[in-house]
């Protein structure tokens, strides 16, 4: 782009080739010098705050330029939000309830699914597994005989979160008309996934007791966006100096409406509370769509 602009500037000064000329190595040395001067002027103008600078630069340089400011008011999250809204509508039509599971890496999202899938009874479920690389988590869930689609963000620049279009594509690989529930296991990260709506019905955040009770204050957005927080690995509490009441107070501070359930996927403690939340939410969604 810059190349075109400089070519154009030379052309207007009458120094030779028209814009788009493709052999800059044939330029004379004097042109190279002006080339450098133009670059400096442009950089100086871009860093300045005075809008008249453009005209000053034009006076020294070969061309005059006018600067105008245009109002745009474009929300950076709108693009993803639109994709998420159309996916949400599609899931609603199909009667599919989607849950976006978010947490830092290793908080127990896959372990929660391993404990949950065998206990769902007649609920028809599928899983979307988001990871930067590998299909290790999808393989862990293979024995449960439910449809699992692995989404790797590696080919898309190693994104630290799932964006709505990738989730929408992955949903198309599932037999949606034959499903009630889809778990979307997001990429392990407490920051980025919070910013991206995936068309889910509910967001659930997991926080393991080994991560510390200050996390809701350090990463408030993900706790604000979620309907439910699962405090995981509570079987480890006897070995830790973890202040559970302080965590609950911190959660209430950042999101007074957040529901909280404590559980251990390993010991099974608290799983009933999580399953009850799940069936209540699912039942409510089913009644609403009737």
């Amino acid at each position: 782009m810059k190349f075109d602009r400089e070519e154009a500037a030379r052309f207007h000064r009458g120094h030779g080739k028209p814009p788009g000329h493709e052999h800059p190595e044939h330029q004379e040395p004097v042109q190279e010098a002006r080339h450098a001067e133009l670059r400096t002027t442009a950089a100086g103008a871009a860093g300045a705050t005075d809008t008249d600078t453009a005209d000053d630069a034009g006076a020294q340089g070969p061309r005059k330029a006018a600067r105008t400011e245009i109002e745009v008011r474009f929300d950076l999250l709108d693009e993803n939000r639109r994709d998420a809204a159309s996916l949400r509508e599609r899931l609603r039509e199909q009667g599919v309830f989607a849950i976006n599971l978010m947490s830092s890496p290793g908080a127990g999202k896959t372990a929660l699914l391993e404990a949950t899938l065998p206990r769902l009874g007649a609920i028809r479920v599928a899983v979307l597994e988001g990871d930067i690389e590998t299909s290790a988590d999808a393989e862990r869930l293979a024995p449960f005989g439910v449809p699992v689609v692995q989404i790797n963000t590696g080919p898309f620049g190693g994104d630290c979160h799932l964006p709505a279009p990738l989730v929408a594509d992955a949903m198309e690989k599932l037999p949606l008309s034959k499903l009630d529930l889809v778990f979307i296991e997001n990429v392990g990260n407490l920051v980025c996934p919070a910013e991206f709506d995936l068309g889910e019905a509910r967001k659930v955040v997991l926080l393991s007791v080994t991560e510390g009770e200050d996390k809701p204050l350090k990463y408030p957005l993900i706790f604000r966006e979620s309907s439910l927080a699962l405090i995981t690995k509570i079987d480890l509490l006897p070995h830790l100096d973890f202040d559970l009441p302080r965590l609950e107070e911190n959660l209430r501070r950042v999101n007074p409406e957040l529901r909280v359930v404590q559980l251990s996927a390993r010991s099974g403690d608290g799983l009933e509370d999580w399953l009850k939340w799940l069936s209540d939410e699912l039942g409510e969604a089913l009644r609403a769509s009737d």
Binding site: A46, A66, R67, I70, V72, E195
Partner: protein, 121 residues
């Protein structure tokens, strides 16, 4: 670092906005509003913008980030105040605070430089 995906979306919009101004128009300044409640770090955004703008109409443009202070109103007493991003309870009533500002992520305006027709032709 999701700032990269955001910066790429920002650049797509800048290119779209500049199209009607012709091939020589350039973005010289880009004004962004970022609410204090967003998980978007201005330094990371600057870095990603510089990287993503290479070879685009906004290469070399200055990214001006206006950080918006979060504000909210208590659902109980109705008092409006600035809020600490980790505290969404009214200090007086201990009731939830309804957000009024702080969640922005907005490309507000673009300063465009275009060749002056009089000086150019």
């Amino acid at each position: 670092m999701h700032e990269m995906s955001l910066a790429m979306g920002l650049l797509r919009e800048i290119e779209r906005q500049l199209k009607p101004y012709g091939p020589e128009a350039r973005a010289t300044r880009v004004f962004l509003e970022v609410g204090g409640l967003r998980a978007v770090f201005p330094e990371a955004m600057q870095l990603c913008f510089r990287a993503a703008s290479q070879g685009t109409v906004a290469e070399g443009a200055e990214l001006v980030i206006d950080e918006i202070v979060p504000r909210g109103r208590c659902v109980g007493c109705g008092r409006e105040r600035e809020i600490d991003h980790t505290y969404f309870l009214c200090p007086d009533c201990d009731l939830p605070v309804k957000l009024l500002a702080g969640e922005e992520l907005l490309l507000r305006s673009i300063e465009i430089e275009e060749p002056d027709p009089k000086g150019d032709k």
